[in-house]
Protein backbone atom coordinates (compact mmCIF):
# COMPACT_ATOMS: atom_id res chain seq x y z
CA UNK A 1 0.00 0.00 0.00
CA UNK A 2 1.53 3.29 -1.11
CA UNK A 3 1.78 6.08 1.39
CA UNK A 4 1.59 9.71 0.24
CA UNK A 5 4.11 12.42 0.92
CA UNK A 6 1.49 14.33 2.98
CA UNK A 7 1.04 11.25 5.21
CA UNK A 8 4.78 11.04 5.83
CA UNK A 9 4.87 14.73 6.71
CA UNK A 10 1.97 14.30 9.11
CA UNK A 11 3.41 11.31 10.98
CA UNK A 12 6.85 12.93 11.11
CA UNK A 13 5.20 15.90 12.77
CA UNK A 14 3.44 13.61 15.27
CA UNK A 15 6.71 11.77 15.98
CA UNK A 16 8.65 15.04 16.35
CA UNK A 17 11.03 14.11 13.56
CA UNK A 18 12.22 16.30 10.74
CA UNK A 19 12.78 14.65 7.36
CA UNK A 20 15.09 16.63 5.06
CA UNK A 21 13.42 17.43 1.74
CA UNK A 22 15.91 15.43 -0.31
CA UNK A 23 15.31 12.37 1.90
CA UNK A 24 11.53 12.51 1.69
CA UNK A 25 11.09 10.35 -1.39
CA UNK A 26 13.40 7.61 -0.05
CA UNK A 27 11.57 7.52 3.29
CA UNK A 28 8.19 7.49 1.54
CA UNK A 29 9.21 4.60 -0.72
CA UNK A 30 10.66 2.56 2.17
CA UNK A 31 7.59 3.02 4.34
CA UNK A 32 5.35 2.14 1.40
CA UNK A 33 7.19 -1.09 0.76
CA UNK A 34 6.99 -2.14 4.42
CA UNK A 35 3.29 -1.21 4.62
CA UNK A 36 2.61 -3.19 1.47
CA UNK A 37 4.24 -6.18 3.11
CA UNK A 38 2.38 -5.88 6.43
CA UNK A 39 -0.89 -5.55 4.50
CA UNK A 40 -0.52 -9.29 3.72
CA UNK A 41 -2.07 -9.80 7.16
CA UNK A 42 -5.42 -9.12 5.54
CA UNK A 43 -5.10 -12.57 3.93
CA UNK A 44 -5.12 -14.20 7.35
CA UNK A 45 -8.45 -15.41 8.70
CA UNK A 46 -8.77 -13.60 12.01
CA UNK A 47 -12.45 -14.26 12.66
CA UNK A 48 -12.94 -15.01 16.34
CA UNK A 49 -9.46 -13.90 17.43
CA UNK A 50 -9.52 -11.20 20.08
CA UNK A 51 -6.60 -8.72 20.13
CA UNK A 52 -3.61 -9.59 22.33
CA UNK A 53 -3.02 -6.49 24.37
CA UNK A 54 -0.22 -7.15 26.78
CA UNK A 55 1.30 -10.02 28.75
CA UNK A 56 1.25 -12.69 26.05
CA UNK A 57 0.57 -15.57 28.40
CA UNK A 58 -2.33 -13.99 30.17
CA UNK A 59 -0.28 -14.73 33.29
CA UNK A 60 -1.30 -12.41 36.12
CA UNK A 61 0.69 -9.21 36.52
CA UNK A 62 2.65 -8.71 39.69
CA UNK A 63 1.89 -5.94 42.16
CA UNK A 64 2.93 -2.40 41.39
CA UNK A 65 6.47 -1.31 42.06
CA UNK A 66 7.10 -1.43 45.78
CA UNK A 67 7.76 1.64 47.84
CA UNK A 68 11.15 2.17 49.33
CA UNK A 69 13.47 2.30 46.32
CA UNK A 70 13.13 5.58 44.48
CA UNK A 71 15.40 8.10 42.84
CA UNK A 72 15.79 11.42 44.59
CA UNK A 73 15.39 14.45 42.31
CA UNK A 74 19.08 15.36 42.36
CA UNK A 75 20.09 11.89 41.14
CA UNK A 76 17.29 11.76 38.61
CA UNK A 77 18.23 15.10 37.07
CA UNK A 78 22.00 14.75 37.43
CA UNK A 79 22.43 13.58 33.83
CA UNK A 80 20.12 16.06 32.16
CA UNK A 81 21.77 18.06 29.38
CA UNK A 82 20.69 21.11 31.39
CA UNK A 83 19.38 21.08 34.94
CA UNK A 84 19.39 23.06 38.14
CA UNK A 85 18.66 22.16 41.78
CA UNK A 86 16.85 18.95 40.89
CA UNK A 87 14.91 20.45 37.98
CA UNK A 88 15.22 19.95 34.22
CA UNK A 89 15.83 23.14 32.26
CA UNK A 90 14.10 23.67 28.91
CA UNK A 91 13.81 26.64 26.56
CA UNK A 92 10.86 28.98 27.18
CA UNK A 93 7.48 27.44 26.42
CA UNK A 94 5.38 30.62 26.70
CA UNK A 95 6.63 34.00 25.53
CA UNK A 96 7.32 36.32 28.43
CA UNK A 97 4.87 39.07 27.53
CA UNK A 98 5.28 42.53 28.99
CA UNK A 99 2.61 43.29 31.63
Amino acid sequence: MAIRREDVERIAELARLEIPADDMERVRAELSSVLEFVATLSKLDLAGYEPTTFAPSGAPLGPDEPNGRRLDPLTATAQAPEGEDGFFLVPPIVENLAP
Binding site: L41, A55, A80
Partner: protein, 492 residues
Protein backbone atom coordinates in the same frame (compact mmCIF):
# COMPACT_ATOMS: atom_id res chain seq x y z
CA UNK B 1 47.88 -22.03 35.83
CA UNK B 2 48.72 -18.98 33.79
CA UNK B 3 46.59 -15.87 34.10
CA UNK B 4 45.22 -16.22 30.60
CA UNK B 5 44.31 -19.89 30.54
CA UNK B 6 40.79 -19.64 31.94
CA UNK B 7 39.30 -17.76 28.99
CA UNK B 8 38.76 -21.07 27.20
CA UNK B 9 36.97 -22.69 30.12
CA UNK B 10 33.23 -23.12 30.58
CA UNK B 11 31.87 -20.55 33.03
CA UNK B 12 31.01 -23.31 35.53
CA UNK B 13 34.65 -24.42 35.66
CA UNK B 14 35.80 -20.84 36.18
CA UNK B 15 33.34 -20.42 39.07
CA UNK B 16 34.35 -23.74 40.61
CA UNK B 17 38.02 -22.75 40.54
CA UNK B 18 37.36 -19.32 42.03
CA UNK B 19 35.08 -20.73 44.73
CA UNK B 20 37.71 -23.34 45.60
CA UNK B 21 40.44 -20.72 45.79
CA UNK B 22 42.53 -22.18 42.99
CA UNK B 23 41.90 -19.16 40.72
CA UNK B 24 41.40 -15.48 41.50
CA UNK B 25 38.63 -13.33 40.03
CA UNK B 26 41.20 -10.62 39.18
CA UNK B 27 42.86 -13.13 36.83
CA UNK B 28 39.77 -14.80 35.38
CA UNK B 29 38.13 -11.45 34.59
CA UNK B 30 41.23 -10.38 32.70
CA UNK B 31 41.89 -13.67 30.89
CA UNK B 32 39.85 -12.96 27.74
CA UNK B 33 41.41 -9.52 27.29
CA UNK B 34 44.93 -10.88 27.64
CA UNK B 35 44.19 -13.83 25.36
CA UNK B 36 41.77 -13.69 22.39
CA UNK B 37 40.68 -10.10 23.07
CA UNK B 38 44.18 -8.85 22.41
CA UNK B 39 44.17 -10.64 19.05
CA UNK B 40 40.61 -10.11 17.90
CA UNK B 41 38.86 -7.16 19.48
CA UNK B 42 40.44 -4.52 17.25
CA UNK B 43 39.15 -6.37 14.16
CA UNK B 44 35.81 -7.64 15.45
CA UNK B 45 34.80 -4.57 17.51
CA UNK B 46 32.43 -6.41 19.81
CA UNK B 47 32.90 -4.05 22.76
CA UNK B 48 31.86 -0.40 23.03
CA UNK B 49 32.57 0.43 26.68
CA UNK B 50 35.36 -1.18 28.68
CA UNK B 51 37.92 -0.02 31.19
CA UNK B 52 40.77 -2.06 32.71
CA UNK B 53 40.70 -0.22 36.03
CA UNK B 54 36.92 -0.63 36.40
CA UNK B 55 37.27 -4.30 35.48
CA UNK B 56 39.94 -4.86 38.12
CA UNK B 57 37.85 -3.03 40.72
CA UNK B 58 34.77 -5.12 39.87
CA UNK B 59 36.83 -8.30 40.13
CA UNK B 60 38.19 -7.28 43.54
CA UNK B 61 34.67 -6.51 44.75
CA UNK B 62 33.19 -9.79 43.53
CA UNK B 63 32.43 -12.60 45.95
CA UNK B 64 31.80 -16.30 45.85
CA UNK B 65 28.72 -17.74 44.19
CA UNK B 66 27.51 -19.80 41.26
CA UNK B 67 29.22 -17.43 38.78
CA UNK B 68 32.22 -16.44 40.91
CA UNK B 69 34.89 -14.75 38.83
CA UNK B 70 33.00 -15.30 35.58
CA UNK B 71 33.50 -12.32 33.24
CA UNK B 72 30.24 -11.21 31.61
CA UNK B 73 29.74 -8.72 28.78
CA UNK B 74 26.41 -6.84 28.67
CA UNK B 75 24.57 -5.50 25.67
CA UNK B 76 24.71 -1.71 25.76
CA UNK B 77 20.97 -1.45 26.56
CA UNK B 78 21.28 -2.97 30.05
CA UNK B 79 21.65 -0.37 32.77
CA UNK B 80 24.74 -0.43 34.93
CA UNK B 81 25.48 1.93 37.74
CA UNK B 82 28.89 3.61 37.93
CA UNK B 83 31.54 2.17 35.68
CA UNK B 84 30.08 2.15 32.18
CA UNK B 85 27.70 4.34 30.19
CA UNK B 86 24.45 2.83 28.89
CA UNK B 87 23.86 4.24 25.42
CA UNK B 88 21.94 1.67 23.30
CA UNK B 89 24.58 2.44 20.65
CA UNK B 90 22.73 5.70 20.00
CA UNK B 91 23.98 9.23 19.75
CA UNK B 92 20.87 10.35 21.62
CA UNK B 93 22.11 8.61 24.81
CA UNK B 94 25.76 9.60 24.38
CA UNK B 95 27.59 9.36 27.67
CA UNK B 96 24.49 8.60 29.77
CA UNK B 97 25.19 6.77 33.01
CA UNK B 98 22.31 4.91 34.60
CA UNK B 99 21.58 5.71 38.24
CA UNK B 100 20.83 2.04 38.99
CA UNK B 101 21.73 -1.53 37.98
CA UNK B 102 19.25 -3.56 35.93
CA UNK B 103 17.86 -6.43 38.01
CA UNK B 104 19.67 -8.99 35.84
CA UNK B 105 22.93 -7.08 36.41
CA UNK B 106 22.36 -6.97 40.16
CA UNK B 107 21.70 -10.73 40.15
CA UNK B 108 24.89 -11.40 38.17
CA UNK B 109 26.91 -9.37 40.65
CA UNK B 110 25.28 -11.14 43.61
CA UNK B 111 26.27 -14.48 42.02
CA UNK B 112 29.93 -13.39 41.90
CA UNK B 113 30.10 -12.53 38.18
CA UNK B 114 32.34 -9.68 37.03
CA UNK B 115 30.81 -7.18 34.59
CA UNK B 116 33.61 -6.44 32.13
CA UNK B 117 31.96 -3.95 29.79
CA UNK B 118 29.25 -3.26 27.26
CA UNK B 119 28.83 -4.93 23.88
CA UNK B 120 27.92 -3.38 20.54
CA UNK B 121 24.39 -3.54 19.15
CA UNK B 122 22.07 -2.10 16.57
CA UNK B 123 20.83 1.26 17.82
CA UNK B 124 18.03 0.66 20.35
CA UNK B 125 18.14 -3.03 19.36
CA UNK B 126 16.60 -2.25 15.98
CA UNK B 127 18.40 -4.31 13.39
CA UNK B 128 19.59 -7.79 12.51
CA UNK B 129 23.24 -7.18 11.69
CA UNK B 130 24.80 -4.76 14.24
CA UNK B 131 25.50 -2.41 11.35
CA UNK B 132 23.11 0.25 12.72
CA UNK B 133 25.33 1.26 15.64
CA UNK B 134 26.59 4.79 16.27
CA UNK B 135 29.95 3.18 17.08
CA UNK B 136 30.25 1.42 13.71
CA UNK B 137 29.60 -2.25 12.94
CA UNK B 138 30.76 -5.39 14.70
CA UNK B 139 32.22 -8.04 12.40
CA UNK B 140 31.67 -11.78 12.44
CA UNK B 141 34.71 -13.39 14.08
CA UNK B 142 34.53 -16.31 11.67
CA UNK B 143 34.71 -14.03 8.61
CA UNK B 144 35.41 -10.35 9.06
CA UNK B 145 33.64 -9.49 5.79
CA UNK B 146 30.36 -10.72 7.29
CA UNK B 147 27.96 -9.50 9.97
CA UNK B 148 27.66 -11.15 13.39
CA UNK B 149 23.86 -10.87 13.23
CA UNK B 150 21.93 -8.55 15.45
CA UNK B 151 20.86 -6.72 17.24
CA UNK B 152 23.01 -8.25 20.03
CA UNK B 153 25.96 -8.78 17.67
CA UNK B 154 28.68 -7.54 20.03
CA UNK B 155 27.89 -9.91 22.91
CA UNK B 156 27.46 -12.84 20.49
CA UNK B 157 30.79 -12.20 18.77
CA UNK B 158 32.62 -11.73 22.08
CA UNK B 159 31.41 -15.11 23.35
CA UNK B 160 32.33 -16.74 20.04
CA UNK B 161 35.92 -15.55 19.96
CA UNK B 162 36.47 -16.19 23.65
CA UNK B 163 36.52 -12.76 25.33
CA UNK B 164 33.88 -13.94 27.82
CA UNK B 165 32.16 -17.28 28.45
CA UNK B 166 28.76 -15.63 29.06
CA UNK B 167 27.13 -12.47 27.74
CA UNK B 168 23.67 -10.97 28.03
CA UNK B 169 21.66 -9.57 25.14
CA UNK B 170 18.03 -8.73 24.58
CA UNK B 171 15.64 -10.47 22.21
CA UNK B 172 12.61 -8.58 20.90
CA UNK B 173 12.31 -10.40 17.57
CA UNK B 174 15.33 -12.68 17.50
CA UNK B 175 18.12 -10.37 18.61
CA UNK B 176 19.76 -13.07 20.73
CA UNK B 177 18.93 -16.20 18.73
CA UNK B 178 19.90 -14.90 15.27
CA UNK B 179 23.36 -13.52 16.22
CA UNK B 180 23.98 -16.68 18.26
CA UNK B 181 23.37 -18.65 15.06
CA UNK B 182 25.64 -16.42 12.98
CA UNK B 183 28.43 -16.63 15.57
CA UNK B 184 28.13 -20.33 16.44
CA UNK B 185 27.17 -20.01 20.10
CA UNK B 186 24.13 -20.85 22.23
CA UNK B 187 21.50 -18.12 22.55
CA UNK B 188 18.47 -18.40 24.84
CA UNK B 189 15.38 -16.22 24.71
CA UNK B 190 13.48 -17.15 27.87
CA UNK B 191 9.71 -17.26 28.34
CA UNK B 192 8.29 -13.73 28.46
CA UNK B 193 8.33 -12.61 32.07
CA UNK B 194 10.91 -15.10 33.36
CA UNK B 195 13.77 -12.56 33.35
CA UNK B 196 13.19 -9.09 34.69
CA UNK B 197 13.12 -6.20 32.22
CA UNK B 198 13.84 -3.66 34.96
CA UNK B 199 16.85 -1.73 33.70
CA UNK B 200 16.59 -3.02 30.13
CA UNK B 201 15.98 0.04 27.95
CA UNK B 202 12.54 -0.59 26.45
CA UNK B 203 12.00 -1.20 22.73
CA UNK B 204 8.81 -3.31 22.40
CA UNK B 205 7.72 -3.89 25.97
CA UNK B 206 5.36 -6.80 25.28
CA UNK B 207 8.10 -8.60 23.31
CA UNK B 208 11.41 -7.70 24.98
CA UNK B 209 13.26 -10.38 26.98
CA UNK B 210 16.81 -10.42 28.25
CA UNK B 211 18.66 -13.40 26.79
CA UNK B 212 21.83 -15.38 27.43
CA UNK B 213 24.79 -16.21 25.16
CA UNK B 214 27.23 -18.98 26.05
CA UNK B 215 29.40 -21.59 24.35
CA UNK B 216 27.97 -24.52 26.32
CA UNK B 217 24.41 -25.59 27.09
CA UNK B 218 25.39 -26.06 30.73
CA UNK B 219 26.61 -22.47 30.98
CA UNK B 220 23.27 -21.21 29.64
CA UNK B 221 21.57 -23.22 32.39
CA UNK B 222 23.94 -21.83 35.02
CA UNK B 223 23.18 -18.25 33.97
CA UNK B 224 19.43 -18.90 33.75
CA UNK B 225 19.40 -20.27 37.30
CA UNK B 226 20.95 -17.04 38.55
CA UNK B 227 18.83 -14.65 36.47
CA UNK B 228 15.31 -16.08 36.29
CA UNK B 229 12.56 -15.39 38.78
CA UNK B 230 10.08 -12.75 39.84
CA UNK B 231 11.17 -9.17 40.39
CA UNK B 232 9.05 -6.67 42.32
CA UNK B 233 10.40 -3.94 40.02
CA UNK B 234 8.94 -5.53 36.88
CA UNK B 235 5.22 -6.19 37.21
CA UNK B 236 5.32 -8.38 34.08
CA UNK B 237 7.67 -10.96 35.59
CA UNK B 238 5.84 -14.22 36.19
CA UNK B 239 4.99 -14.94 39.78
CA UNK B 240 6.32 -18.07 41.45
CA UNK B 241 9.65 -19.79 41.01
CA UNK B 242 11.23 -20.15 37.57
CA UNK B 243 11.41 -23.64 36.05
CA UNK B 244 14.21 -25.85 37.35
CA UNK B 245 16.86 -26.27 34.66
CA UNK B 246 19.28 -28.35 36.73
CA UNK B 247 18.47 -31.47 34.67
CA UNK B 248 19.86 -29.90 31.49
CA UNK B 249 22.10 -32.93 30.92
CA UNK B 250 19.41 -35.60 31.32
CA UNK B 251 18.90 -36.36 27.63
CA UNK B 252 15.86 -36.31 25.36
CA UNK B 253 14.71 -39.93 25.49
CA UNK B 254 10.94 -40.08 25.18
CA UNK B 255 10.50 -36.47 24.10
CA UNK B 256 8.61 -35.62 20.89
CA UNK B 257 9.96 -32.91 18.62
CA UNK B 258 7.90 -31.09 16.00
CA UNK B 259 9.24 -31.11 12.43
CA UNK B 260 7.47 -28.36 10.41
CA UNK B 261 9.35 -29.06 7.18
CA UNK B 262 6.98 -26.89 5.11
CA UNK B 263 8.80 -23.87 6.59
CA UNK B 264 12.07 -24.65 4.82
CA UNK B 265 10.77 -25.86 1.47
CA UNK B 266 11.97 -22.60 -0.08
CA UNK B 267 13.99 -19.55 0.89
CA UNK B 268 16.30 -21.43 3.26
CA UNK B 269 19.94 -22.14 2.44
CA UNK B 270 20.64 -25.82 1.64
CA UNK B 271 23.34 -25.95 4.33
CA UNK B 272 20.74 -24.94 6.95
CA UNK B 273 18.31 -27.61 5.73
CA UNK B 274 21.11 -30.14 5.90
CA UNK B 275 21.92 -29.06 9.47
CA UNK B 276 18.25 -29.51 10.42
CA UNK B 277 18.24 -33.04 9.00
CA UNK B 278 21.40 -33.95 10.86
CA UNK B 279 20.08 -32.42 14.08
CA UNK B 280 16.83 -34.37 13.76
CA UNK B 281 18.80 -37.57 13.21
CA UNK B 282 20.92 -36.84 16.28
CA UNK B 283 17.81 -36.24 18.40
CA UNK B 284 16.28 -39.50 17.17
CA UNK B 285 19.49 -41.38 17.95
CA UNK B 286 19.26 -39.92 21.45
CA UNK B 287 15.77 -41.34 21.85
CA UNK B 288 13.48 -38.48 20.84
CA UNK B 289 10.63 -39.00 18.37
CA UNK B 290 9.97 -36.83 15.30
CA UNK B 291 6.42 -35.58 14.74
CA UNK B 292 5.97 -34.05 11.28
CA UNK B 293 3.34 -31.38 10.68
CA UNK B 294 2.84 -28.17 8.73
CA UNK B 295 3.13 -24.85 10.51
CA UNK B 296 2.05 -21.29 9.71
CA UNK B 297 4.62 -19.48 7.52
CA UNK B 298 6.81 -17.04 9.46
CA UNK B 299 6.11 -14.15 7.10
CA UNK B 300 2.79 -13.53 8.91
CA UNK B 301 4.70 -13.23 12.17
CA UNK B 302 7.14 -10.76 10.56
CA UNK B 303 4.23 -8.64 9.28
CA UNK B 304 2.57 -8.69 12.72
CA UNK B 305 5.81 -7.87 14.46
CA UNK B 306 6.61 -4.82 12.33
CA UNK B 307 3.32 -3.28 13.45
CA UNK B 308 3.31 -4.33 17.12
CA UNK B 309 7.01 -3.69 17.78
CA UNK B 310 7.12 -0.37 15.93
CA UNK B 311 3.95 0.86 17.63
CA UNK B 312 5.42 0.07 21.03
CA UNK B 313 8.77 1.57 20.03
CA UNK B 314 7.22 4.83 18.84
CA UNK B 315 5.69 5.17 22.29
CA UNK B 316 8.72 3.98 24.28
CA UNK B 317 11.15 6.21 22.40
CA UNK B 318 9.03 9.32 22.91
CA UNK B 319 10.95 9.83 26.14
CA UNK B 320 14.13 10.73 24.28
CA UNK B 321 13.63 14.43 23.64
CA UNK B 322 16.76 16.22 24.85
CA UNK B 323 15.31 17.14 28.24
CA UNK B 324 16.21 14.30 30.58
CA UNK B 325 19.13 12.35 29.17
CA UNK B 326 22.05 12.34 26.80
CA UNK B 327 22.21 14.46 23.68
CA UNK B 328 20.48 17.83 23.29
CA UNK B 329 20.58 19.83 20.06
CA UNK B 330 22.54 23.02 20.60
CA UNK B 331 20.28 25.26 18.52
CA UNK B 332 16.78 25.07 20.04
CA UNK B 333 14.99 28.39 20.44
CA UNK B 334 11.81 26.77 21.75
CA UNK B 335 10.69 23.46 23.20
CA UNK B 336 9.19 22.13 20.00
CA UNK B 337 12.42 22.78 18.10
CA UNK B 338 14.33 21.19 20.98
CA UNK B 339 12.34 17.95 20.65
CA UNK B 340 12.38 17.81 16.87
CA UNK B 341 16.01 18.77 16.30
CA UNK B 342 17.31 16.59 19.12
CA UNK B 343 15.41 13.53 17.90
CA UNK B 344 16.17 14.09 14.20
CA UNK B 345 19.88 14.38 14.85
CA UNK B 346 20.09 11.94 17.78
CA UNK B 347 18.31 8.93 16.24
CA UNK B 348 19.79 7.01 13.32
CA UNK B 349 17.92 6.19 10.10
CA UNK B 350 16.58 2.77 11.09
CA UNK B 351 15.26 3.99 14.44
CA UNK B 352 13.54 6.92 12.73
CA UNK B 353 12.04 4.57 10.15
CA UNK B 354 10.53 2.38 12.87
CA UNK B 355 9.24 5.31 14.89
CA UNK B 356 7.51 6.63 11.75
CA UNK B 357 6.04 3.21 10.98
CA UNK B 358 4.76 2.79 14.53
CA UNK B 359 3.34 6.29 14.62
CA UNK B 360 1.53 5.57 11.37
CA UNK B 361 0.10 2.29 12.67
CA UNK B 362 -1.20 4.02 15.79
CA UNK B 363 -2.50 7.18 14.10
CA UNK B 364 -6.17 8.02 13.73
CA UNK B 365 -7.67 6.41 10.65
CA UNK B 366 -5.12 3.60 10.45
CA UNK B 367 -5.27 2.16 13.98
CA UNK B 368 -7.96 -0.45 13.22
CA UNK B 369 -6.56 -1.44 9.84
CA UNK B 370 -3.01 -1.89 11.10
CA UNK B 371 -2.47 -2.04 14.85
CA UNK B 372 -5.70 -3.78 15.82
CA UNK B 373 -5.31 -6.27 12.96
CA UNK B 374 -1.77 -7.02 14.14
CA UNK B 375 -2.94 -7.59 17.70
CA UNK B 376 -5.55 -10.06 16.47
CA UNK B 377 -2.98 -11.77 14.24
CA UNK B 378 -0.79 -12.05 17.30
CA UNK B 379 -3.53 -13.97 19.07
CA UNK B 380 -3.84 -16.32 16.12
CA UNK B 381 -0.06 -16.90 16.11
CA UNK B 382 -0.14 -17.71 19.85
CA UNK B 383 -2.90 -20.23 19.17
CA UNK B 384 -0.91 -21.82 16.33
CA UNK B 385 2.00 -22.44 18.70
CA UNK B 386 -0.29 -23.62 21.49
CA UNK B 387 -1.89 -26.16 19.15
CA UNK B 388 1.50 -27.32 17.85
CA UNK B 389 2.69 -27.97 21.39
CA UNK B 390 -0.22 -30.31 22.06
CA UNK B 391 1.46 -32.62 19.53
CA UNK B 392 5.11 -32.26 20.58
CA UNK B 393 7.31 -31.19 23.50
CA UNK B 394 9.42 -28.83 21.41
CA UNK B 395 9.81 -27.80 17.77
CA UNK B 396 12.94 -27.92 15.65
CA UNK B 397 13.39 -25.15 13.06
CA UNK B 398 16.05 -22.85 11.66
CA UNK B 399 17.26 -19.82 13.65
CA UNK B 400 17.83 -17.89 10.43
CA UNK B 401 17.28 -18.63 6.73
CA UNK B 402 21.02 -18.48 5.97
CA UNK B 403 24.42 -18.36 7.61
CA UNK B 404 25.93 -14.91 8.26
CA UNK B 405 25.49 -12.51 5.34
CA UNK B 406 27.97 -9.92 4.11
CA UNK B 407 28.36 -6.45 5.57
CA UNK B 408 26.25 -4.02 3.55
CA UNK B 409 24.28 -6.81 1.88
CA UNK B 410 20.93 -5.86 3.41
CA UNK B 411 21.31 -2.33 4.75
CA UNK B 412 19.71 -0.67 1.74
CA UNK B 413 16.54 -2.78 1.82
CA UNK B 414 14.75 -2.64 5.19
CA UNK B 415 12.27 -5.37 4.28
CA UNK B 416 15.03 -7.78 3.28
CA UNK B 417 16.69 -7.17 6.66
CA UNK B 418 13.39 -7.69 8.51
CA UNK B 419 12.88 -11.05 6.81
CA UNK B 420 16.11 -12.41 8.25
CA UNK B 421 14.11 -12.75 11.51
CA UNK B 422 11.40 -14.89 9.91
CA UNK B 423 12.07 -17.90 12.17
CA UNK B 424 12.60 -16.08 15.45
CA UNK B 425 9.85 -13.46 15.64
CA UNK B 426 7.00 -15.91 16.33
CA UNK B 427 8.39 -16.83 19.75
CA UNK B 428 8.37 -13.19 20.85
CA UNK B 429 4.79 -12.69 19.69
CA UNK B 430 3.73 -15.87 21.49
CA UNK B 431 5.84 -15.20 24.61
CA UNK B 432 7.46 -18.64 24.42
CA UNK B 433 11.12 -19.61 24.91
CA UNK B 434 13.57 -20.39 22.11
CA UNK B 435 17.15 -21.61 22.05
CA UNK B 436 19.68 -21.38 19.23
CA UNK B 437 21.94 -24.42 19.19
CA UNK B 438 25.19 -24.22 17.18
CA UNK B 439 25.43 -27.16 14.82
CA UNK B 440 28.48 -27.47 12.62
CA UNK B 441 29.81 -25.28 9.81
CA UNK B 442 29.01 -24.77 6.16
CA UNK B 443 31.46 -25.42 3.32
CA UNK B 444 32.91 -21.92 3.75
CA UNK B 445 33.55 -22.43 7.46
CA UNK B 446 30.65 -20.27 8.68
CA UNK B 447 28.75 -21.46 11.75
CA UNK B 448 25.42 -23.22 11.24
CA UNK B 449 22.70 -23.55 13.86
CA UNK B 450 19.25 -24.87 14.57
CA UNK B 451 16.58 -23.49 16.87
CA UNK B 452 14.41 -25.31 19.39
CA UNK B 453 11.17 -23.69 20.54
CA UNK B 454 8.91 -24.84 23.35
CA UNK B 455 5.75 -23.81 25.16
CA UNK B 456 5.87 -21.34 28.05
CA UNK B 457 8.31 -22.44 30.77
CA UNK B 458 9.86 -25.13 28.55
CA UNK B 459 13.41 -23.86 29.23
CA UNK B 460 14.37 -27.21 30.89
CA UNK B 461 13.28 -29.13 27.79
CA UNK B 462 15.06 -26.74 25.42
CA UNK B 463 18.30 -27.02 27.37
CA UNK B 464 18.05 -30.81 27.39
CA UNK B 465 17.63 -30.73 23.61
CA UNK B 466 20.46 -28.22 23.25
CA UNK B 467 22.72 -30.42 25.31
CA UNK B 468 21.73 -33.57 23.41
CA UNK B 469 22.76 -31.84 20.19
CA UNK B 470 26.01 -30.71 21.82
CA UNK B 471 27.07 -34.24 22.67
CA UNK B 472 25.27 -36.07 19.85
CA UNK B 473 26.09 -33.77 16.98
CA UNK B 474 29.02 -32.11 15.35
CA UNK B 475 30.59 -31.02 18.58
CA UNK B 476 30.83 -34.53 20.02
CA UNK B 477 34.34 -34.97 18.68
CA UNK B 478 35.43 -31.58 19.97
CA UNK B 479 37.24 -31.22 23.22
CA UNK B 480 35.70 -29.38 26.15
CA UNK B 481 38.19 -26.56 25.85
CA UNK B 482 37.23 -23.71 23.57
CA UNK B 483 40.66 -23.44 21.99
CA UNK B 484 40.06 -26.55 19.97
CA UNK B 485 36.45 -25.70 19.14
CA UNK B 486 37.28 -22.37 17.63
CA UNK B 487 39.78 -22.46 14.83
CA UNK B 488 41.03 -18.91 14.68
CA UNK B 489 39.71 -17.27 11.54
CA UNK B 490 42.16 -16.54 8.82
CA UNK B 491 40.25 -13.90 6.84
CA UNK B 492 41.43 -10.65 8.36
Amino acid sequence: MSATETWAWPARDVAAAVNAGSARAEATAEAGWEGPGRVWEADVHAVVHADPAARAAAARASGKGPLAGVPVLLKDNLCTRDAYPTTCASKILAGWRAPYDATVVARLRAAGAVIVGKGNMDEFAMGSSTEFSCYGPTRNPFDLARVPGGSSGGPAAAVAYGLVPIALGSDTGGSVRQPAAFCGVYGLKPTYGRLSRYGLVAFGSSLDQVGVFARHAGDVAAAYEVLAGPDPFDATTRLGPAPDVSAWDSGVAGLRFGWPANLWKEGVAPAIVDALERAADALERAGARRVAFDFMPGTYAVATYYLVATAEASSNLARFDGVRYGFRHADAPDVRALYTRTRSEGFGAEVQRRILLGTYALSAGYYDAFYLTAQRARTRIRHEYRDAFTRCDFMLMPSAPSAAFRLGEKTSDPLEMYLSDVFTIGANLAGIPGLTVPFGRDAGGLPLAVQVLGPEDAEPVLLRAGRALEVGGERARLARSHTTEFAWPTKR
